[in-house]
C-alpha cells in the first residue's frame, strides 16, 4: 500500500505516523510538504497530529487552506483513502471533508492519556478488520477534541453508520461520545485518538499496530 503523509508547519506527529505506516506497509510513506501542489499516486493520504500553524485562530483552520489541501480533497473525492488523526481530524472538518467541528475540551485542559474506545462501525476499509462493538485502546493528546455537530448531523452520522469510534469514558465532552467519524462513502476517517502511538508493547500497547495492519490487509 502506498501512503503519503502531509507535513504542515507545526505538524509534530508526522514522523510517528510515518513510522507506524512503514511498520505496517513495509515501505516508507511519501512525505508531502504543505506547499506542494501535487501528490504522487498513493492509496492513502494521511494528515498527522500536531499543532499546524500553532493551532492559532482555530485548530486546523490555517492548514485547511494550504495549497496541498486541494489535492487532498481531490484524492478524497476520487474515493481515495484519507485519514486525519487529531490535528488531521480538525483539518478534515475545517476543509469540509467531514462534518462538525472540534471545540475546546470540556475542562479546558490539554489531555494526554490512553483511552478505551468502542468500535462503532466497520463500514469502511479503515475499520473492516475491527470487530463492531469491540474495544480498542489508543491514546488521546489534544486540547480541542470536543466533537460538536448539530443534532440533525449527529442523527445522520448515526443513521448512516458513520460514527467510527466512541469513547468508553468521554474525556472531553464530545457529543454522543464521538471519537471518530467517516464521510458518506466511508473513505475518509477523522479521529482524535492516535493509533500510531501504541504500536508496540514497549510503548504500552499494540492496538494501534493492529489498526494499521488491518488497513493494509484490505489492500493486500
Amino acid at each position: 500500500m502506498k501512503c503519503a503523509v502531509i507535513v504542515f508547519p507545526g505538524s509534530n506527529c508526522d514522523r510517528d505516523l510515518a513510522v507506524a505506516l512503514e511498520h505496517a506497509a513495509g515501505q516508507k510513506p511519501f512525505m508531502a510538504w504543505h506547499q506542494e501542489t501535487a501528490l504522487p499516486d498513493v492509496d492513502l493520504v494521511a494528515l498527522p497530529g500536531g499543532f499546524s500553524y500553532g493551532d492559532y485562530l482555530r485548530a486546523g483552520a490555517m492548514a485547511a487552506k494550504s495549497p496541498i489541501m486541494r489535492e487532498v480533497i481531490n484524492h478524497a473525492d476520487r474515493g481515495g483513502l484519507t485519514l486525519g488523526i487529531c490535528n488531521g481530524f480538525q483539518q478534515l472538518t475545517e476543509c469540509g471533508l467531514l462534518p462538525g467541528a472540534l471545540m475546546r475540551n470540556r475542562d479546558l485542559k490539554f489531555i494526554c492519556k490512553d483511552v478505551d474506545l468502542t468500535v462503532a462501525s466497520t463500514a469502511s476499509p479503515f475499520l473492516s478488520a475491527l470487530r463492531k462493538g469491540g474495544s480498542v485502546r489508543y491514546p488521546v493528546a489534544h486540547h480541542d477534541g470536543n466533537y460538536f455537530a448539530d443534532a440533525d448531523t449527529l442523527d445522520r452520522l448515526e443513521d448512516e453508520d458513520r460514527v467510527a469510534f466512541r469513547y468508553a469514558e468521554n474525556p472531553n465532552g464530545s457529543q454522543r461520545d464521538i471519537a471518530g467519524i467517516l464521510n458518506e462513502r466511508g473513505n475518509v476517517l477523522g479521529m482524535m485518538p492516535h493509533p500510531e502511538r501504541l504500536i508496540a508493547d514497549d510503548l504500552g500497547g499494540s492496538d494501534g499496530a493492529a489498526f494499521f495492519a488491518g488497513l493494509m490487509g484490505v489492500f493486500a
Binding site: G10, N12, C13, G49, D55, F110, I111, C112, D202
Partner: protein, 712 residues
C-alpha cells in the same frame, strides 16, 4: 542620552564600586546603552558573580563527558557516535509574575539551549515548587505554570516525561519553575558558541525583536518586594509555533557546513549572546543595530540590546554561506538578517543609523566581570530527633501520607503534558525515571529530576548529597547507567551570610556525591534572590540527570505484579528526622535528615543495576519520601496488586516510614535467586511478602486497607 546619576546606576542593579569599575574599564563614563549592557552582563544571572568560585569546585569530568559546564548545555557520549545534550534552567521570577507565559518561555528557553548545540530535543522535564496548597495564590500559580509548560512543550512536539512537584509555605511568595531539556545529536555534528574568523558575518535568525522583557535579567537578580506587580511589563510572551519552525530550520542548516558558531538569545538576548560568542572566541564584534529585525517602531539601541524577545538565535556563518542559510530560514518563514561581523579589536562596537553608539572591551563584559567571595556562615546543625510517638494506626498514617500534597499522585499534572509524542516514550511519567528510546536503536535514555528541600533546609550539605544520590538511585531503579547531572541551584539572597552558607554547603555535598558516584555536573544554572521581605525559600538545589540503557528491553518498572515476592534491598528503616511522616502525620519539621552513605549507595545501586541488566529483575522501586510503606503502596497501586506484609510482623514507625537512603524494593517471581545473589554480594535485604495477589494492603493480622481506599 540621559546623564547618568547614582539613581540610574542603582536602577540598573549596579553598586557604586561596580560603576567605578566600568569607568575604569572604559577609561571614561559609559553612555546609557553601555551602562545597560554592563548591567545585564554583570547581573547575577549572567555573571554568576556570587556563585562562580563555588561552582568551580564541582566535579565536571568523566571519560564519557564530551562537554561540561561552559557551553549552552552539557554533552555526554552515549555510544555509537551519538551524544545526549542536556541542561536545566530556572524561570522562577517570571513564572510568579505571569505563570503561563513565565513557565512557557522557560521551556522555550531551555529547548533553545539544547538545539543550539545541534541536538534535536527528545524529552523535557520540569521541577516545580509552589507555596502551601491553601495559600490564596497557589491554585492560580499551579494552574498557570502547568498549562504554560504543556502549552509550549505540547505544541513544539517534545514529550514531557517527568518532573517533580513540591509544596511548602516557604515558596508562597517565590515559586520555583525549573525546566530541563534533553536532546540527541551526532557527535560529529555538535555546535559550539565560540566565534571565530575575522570578518565572518554575524547573523540574526528567528522572531523579530520587540520591547519584551527589557531588564528581565536584572529583574531575575533582584529580591522581590511587595511592589513586584509593578515590574510586570517586563514579562515576555512565548510563541511555540515559531520555536518549532526554528528547531527545524536550525537543524536543517546544521546538516550543511555553514555554521561556525551558534548561540541562542536567552536572558539579556542580543547582549549576552553576542558578548559570549565573541569573548569565548577571543575576537571582537561589530553590530549594526539598524539591521536588527524589529517588531515595533522606533526601537532604540538600548531596547534592542536588552530586549528578551523569545525564539531568536545568533550565529556566525562561514563566509559565502549567507544565501544558503537565508534560503532555509525563509522557507520556514523566519527572519534572517546579517547584523554585523567579527573583528580583531577585542572590542564590542555598536553602530546605529551610521553612528557609533557603543565601544566596550569584551573582556570587561565577560571574563573580567566582578566575582565575589561573599561572606558565608556555616549552617547551625539541628539536634537529632528524640523518639517519635507511633501513629494510632499505621495504615491511617499511610493514607495521610498518600494524600499529602508532595506524595499525592501528580497524574493531573502530567496528563496535561503530551508525554508520548515522538513515539519513543517507553517510561511514562509516574515511574522512577522517564525513559525515551533513542529513535531506531535498542538504546534508551532515562531521565529524572530530584531534590528534597526539607533535607537541604535541615542540613544543606547532606541535602546536597542526597539530591545527587536520589537522581542516581532513580536512574538505577529503571536499570540505567547514570551518566551525568545538570542542576538549578535555587537559593535566597546571597548577600546574607546564612543563605550563602547554605549555598556553599549544598555545593560541597553535591560535589562529594558526584565524585563518589562518578556522576559529574555537565551544565546548570543558579537562581539567587528567591526571597520576599526577608523570607527565603527552602534551599533547593534541584538536580536533573540522564542515564543510559544500552538495551532498553532490559529495564525495570515499579508496578508490582500478582504472584511476586517482595524484597527490601538495603537496611530496614531507622530514621524519622526531617521525614514526611514527621511533617505530615506528626505536624513537625524537625530533626536531622537521613545521611547518605555514598559507598553503600554505590554498592546497593550497582547490585540492582546488574540484576536488571542481567534480566533477573523487572520490578524495582527506590525508597524515598514517606519511606518503605509509601514505596510499597506506590508499587501496589501502579500494579493494581495487593500485598500481604503481615509475616514480617513489624510495628516500628521508623521501619515503615523512615527515610533512610540507598534502599530499593524489588518484586520477583522467586525471591530465592535474588536472595542468593544478595548474600553473595553482601547486600542487606529483607523478604517483605510472598506471592501477593489480593486487592488489599495488609501489614498485620488487624491492619488491612483496600487499594481502592488507598487510591481515593
Amino acid at each position: 542620552m540621559n546623564a547618568i546619576d547614582a539613581h540610574i546606576v542603582q536602577d540598573h542593579g549596579l553598586t557604586t564600586e561596580e560603576y567605578d569599575r566600568i569607568v575604569g574599564a572604559l577609561g571614561r563614563h559609559p553612555n546609557m546603552l553601555e551602562l545597560g549592557i554592563y548591567s545585564v552582563m554583570w547581573s547575577e544571572h549572567c555573571s554568576y558573580k556570587s556563585s562562580r568560585i563555588h561552582l568551580k569546585t564541582l566535579p565536571t569530568e568523566a571519560p564519557w563527558v564530551i562537554q561540561g559546564p561552559g557551553e549552552n548545555a552539557g554533552v555526554v557520549d552515549i555510544g555509537d557516535g551519538q551524544a545526549a545534550i542536556f541542561k536545566m534552567e530556572s524561570h522562577n521570577h517570571p513564572s510568579f509574575i505571569e505563570p503561563y507565559q513565565g513557565a512557557a518561555t522557560g521551556v522555550g528557553g531551555i529547548m533553545r539551549d539544547v538545539f543550539t548545540m545541534g541536538a534535536r530535543p527528545i524529552a523535557n522535564m520540569n521541577a516545580l515548587r509552589f507555596g502551601s496548597p491553601d495559600h490564596p495564590k497557589t491554585r492560580h500559580l499551579v494552574a498557570g505554570v502547568v498549562a504554560g509548560i504543556g502549552g509550549y512543550g505540547n505544541c513544539v512536539g517534545v514529550p514531557t516525561v517527568g518532573g517533580e512537584t513540591n509544596f511548602h509555605p516557604r515558596y508562597n511568595a517565590n515559586i520555583l519553575v525549573n525546566a530541563m531539556c534533553v536532546g540527541l545529536a551526532d557527535q560529529d555534528k555538535i555546535f559550539y558558541s565560540a566565534a571565530a574568523g575575522i570578518g565572518n558575518p554575524v547573523v540574526y535568525v528567528g522572531s523579530k525583536t520587540g520591547r519584551d522583557g527589557i531588564h528581565g535579567a536584572t529583574m531575575a537578580s533582584a529580591e522581590f518586594t511587595e511592589d513586584a506587580e509593578e515590574k510586570r511589563p517586563t514579562v515576555q510572551v512565548g510563541d511555540p509555533f515559531t520555536e518549532k519552525l526554528l528547531i527545524e530550520a536550525c537543524l536543517e542548516l546544521m546538516a550543511t557546513d555553514a555554521i561556525v558558531a551558534i548561540q541562542d538569545m536567552g536572558a539579556a538576548g542580543l547582549t549576552s549572546s553576542s558578548v559570549e560568542m565573541a569573548s569565548k572566541g577571543g575576537v571582537g564584534i561589530h553590530l549594526d543595530l539598524s539591521t536588527v529585525p524589529c517588531r515595533e517602531e522606533a526601537m532604540q539601541p538600548y531596547e534592542m540590546m536588552l530586549s528578551e524577545s523569545q525564539e531568536r538565535m545568533l550565529m556566525v556563518l562561514k563566509p559565502g554561506k549567507e544565501a544558503l542559510a537565508r534560503g532555509i530560514f525563509e522557507k520556514w518563514q523566519l527572519d534572517f538578517a546579517v547584523i554585523g561581523e567579527l573583528t580583531d579589536t577585542g572590542q564590542m562596537v555598536l553602530t546605529f543609523e551610521g553612528e557609533q553608539v557603543a565601544d566596550m572591551p569584551l573582556d570587561s563584559l565577560a571574563d573580567d566581570a566582578p566575582v565575589y567571595d561573599r561572606p558565608h556562615v556555616q549552617p547551625t546543625p539541628r539536634a537529632p530527633l528524640e523518639t517519635v510517638a507511633p501513629p494510632c494506626s499505621t495504615l491511617d498514617a499511610l493514607k495521610t501520607l498518600m494524600t499529602s500534597p508532595d506524595i499525592a499522585s501528580k497524574r493531573w499534572i502530567w496528563e496535561q503534558y503530551d508525554h508520548m509524542v515522538m513515539g519513543d516514550t517507553i517510561g511514562r511519567p509516574g515511574g522512577d525515571a522517564g525513559i525515551v528510546r533513542i529513535h531506531g536503536t535498542p538504546k534508551a535514555l532515562a531521565i529524572t529530576t530530584d531534590c528534597t528541600p526539607r533535607y537541604c533546609e535541615a542540613d544543606p550539605f547532606e541535602g546536597g548529597k542526597q539530591a545527587v544520590a536520589e537522581n542516581w538511585r532513580n536512574l538505577t531503579a529503571v536499570g540505567a547507567t547514570p551518566l551525568a547531572i545538570t542542576d538549578c541551584l535555587n537559593f535566597g539572597n546571597p548577600e546574607r551570610p546564612a543563605i550563602m552558607g547554605q549555598f556553599v554547603a549544598a555545593i560541597k555535598g553535591m560535589g562529594e556525591a558526584c565524585h563518589a558516584l562518578d556522576f559529574p555536573v555537565v551544565s546548570g544554572n543558579v537562581s539567587l534572590y528567591n526571597e520576599t521581605n526577608g523570607q527565603a525559600i527552602l534551599p533547593t538545589p534541584a538536580v536533573g540527570a540522564v542515564g543510559l540503557l544500552k538495551d532498553a528491553s532490559r529495564r525495570a518498572h515499579l508496578a508490582a505484579k500478582p504472584g511476586q515476592d517482595l524484597v527490601l534491598i538495603g537496611k530496614p528503616g531507622t530514621h524519622l528526622g526531617a521525614s514526611l511522616y514527621l511533617r505530615e502525620v506528626v505536624g513537625r519539621e524537625d530533626g536531622t535528615p537521613p545521611q547518605v552513605n555514598l559507598a553503600e549507595e554505590r554498592k546497593v545501586g550497582d547490585f540492582i543495576r546488574t540484576q536488571i541488566t542481567a534480566n533477573q529483575l523487572r520490578t524495582v522501586h527506590d525508597i524515598s519520601g514517606g519511606g518503605l510503606l509509601v514505596a510499597l503502596a506506590h508499587m501496589a497501586l501502579a500494579g493494581s496488586c495487593g500485598m500481604d506484609l503481615s509475616p514480617i510482623a513489624a510495628n516500628d514507625t521508623a521501619f515503615w516510614f523512615g527515610e533512610d537512603q540507598a534502599r530499593y524494593i524489588a518484586g520477583c517471581n522467586d525471591a530465592q535467586a535474588l536472595i542468593t545473589a544478595e548474600e553473595a554480594a553482601v547486600i542487606d535485604f529483607l523478604l517483605l511478602g510472598r506471592k501477593n495477589t489480593t486487592l488489599y494492603l495488609k501489614i498485620s493480622a488487624i491492619e488491612t486497607m483496600s487499594l481502592a481506599t488507598l487510591a481515593a
